[in-house]
Amino acid sequence: MTTMQLRVTVNREPRKWSIAPGDLLLDVLRREGFFGVKRGCEKGECGSCTVLVDGRAVNSCLMFAAKVEGCEVLTIEGLAEGDRLDPIQGAFLDHGAAQCGFCTPGMILAAKALLDKNPHPNEAEVREAMAGVLCRCTGYIKPVEAVLAAAKQPAKRATRKRQPAGVVR
């Protein structure tokens, strides 16, 4: 099988990976240990595999890995800075906006793409931005409330300590 080199920045760290020309970004990220990128429908319907490529939310299941050559990819693992959670992550905790959590990385990253571009969205804009991520348990009200709450917080004050792994508040 032929291979090619992929140079990409993932979560602010430059990487050089060997990939097959037909590899999909979802498969490569999971192979490299980024399990926060969830494998859902693999048809671009559910949004669980959402990552940011150069700041834009994309379905990694529909993107050939070779397309992110030279790009910056952000997965949920790269959202917290050290042990400081991103304000959106904090708001999801505060609002109980996750249940099984499978869709949560996609939800949070879709919200991040929105807030980076439009820091003060209205509810319709939040719903529009989140529409590409399906949740089968909690529903959408709490995630939407969490994103609106995150948008209200001044960016500096919003950071908070990361919870120890496995602890659910």
Binding site: G22, R56, A57, V58, N59, F64, A129, G132, V133
Partner: protein, 288 residues
């Protein structure tokens, strides 16, 4: 799924892309956003040609026309002031309905046309805007009216050609009206039926020309030529709208599939055509 792919090319020009397509001997595929190609999962593909670095992602005013590069994304169409100002912004409105933000950020104009779905959301607005498609192959470039492109798209002779641009003449004149209407099962779904309309009325309120296009109700999106002709020269009133809405039902040939029955689709053609013409009338300053 694409384990058999041996090469991933990133041509820096249309010429190079076309050369790669030709040397792929039918086993090379163009990829831009990939949102249709990956879902299709064609295991015969041996080479991928990524045209997003080939200089065909642009929206430009050119003379009296607007030129849209084939690799322009839905998101770029939605956000473009040129596209929002063109023909009542129906192309921007249609682009905004093409799936989720994740899809619209990468899906392209060229892909929406070249994939050939009868439900493709950009096709009906482009039909009423009288768009022309520019296609390149090893012999050079040629222009095709969009309806002709839809008819020949799947032909063997087209397999080694690349859709490079869509050109839309800028509609001129006063008292024009435009509309795009889509019926989907959910907000992100592909169309069960979509309708685009454009028209112009004269000072006396008579219709000078009308264009109606319907999607997902025939093997390709179609113009409702007979209904358009019947509207010409008439006053734009409730009776004309009702007759046209009935008229399109006779011009479509919908099928039954998992999204809707043929009967329902035909009925929705009437409903969406009426809504479209009512919106056009309001823009053209005719009270209905």
């Amino acid at each position: 799924m694409f384990e058999q792919v041996e090469d991933f090319h990133r041509p820096a020009s249309v010429r190079e892309a076309v050369r790669l397509l030709e040397s792929g001997k039918g086993r090379a595929r163009i990829v831009a956003g990939g949102t249709d190609l990956v879902v299709d999962g064609d295991s015969t593909v041996r080479a991928l040609i990524d045209i997003t670095h080939s200089g065909i992602a642009y929206i430009r005013k050119r003379g009296g026309s607007c030129a849209i590069g084939a690799a322009t994304t839905m998101a770029e169409l939605e956000e473009s002031r040129i596209i929002r100002g063109l023909g009542g912004g129906i192309l921007a409105r249609a682009a905004a309905t093409c799936g989720s933000i994740q899809i619209r950020g990468v899906a392209t104009v060229g892909g929406n046309l070249a994939n050939g779905s009868p439900a493709a959301d950009l096709v009906t607005p482009l039909l009423v805007l009288d768009a022309v498609v520019v296609v390149a192959d090893a012999k050079g470039r040629r222009k095709l009216p969009i309806a002709e492109y839809l008819a020949v798209r799947g032909a063997r002779a087209m397999r080694q050609s690349l859709l490079v641009e869509v050109t839309v003449p800028r509609p001129l004149g006063r008292r024009c009206g435009w509309s795009f209407q889509k019926l989907g099962r959910t907000a992100l779904d592909i169309s069960v039926v979509n309708v685009a309309a454009g028209l112009q009325v004269d000072a006396a309120g008579r219709i000078q020309w009308a264009r109606l296009a319907l999607g997902a109700v025939a093997p390709t999106a179609i113009r409702a030529g007979a209904t358009e002709k019947n509207l010409r020269g008439r006053g734009l009133d409730a009776e004309a709208v009702a007759e046209a809405a009935e008229g399109v039902m006779r011009e479509v040939s919908p099928i039954t599939d998992l999204r809707a029955s043929a009967t329902y689709r035909r009925e929705m053609c009437r409903v969406l055509t009426r809504r479209a013409l009512v919106e056009c009338a309001a823009q053209a300053g005719c009270a209905i």
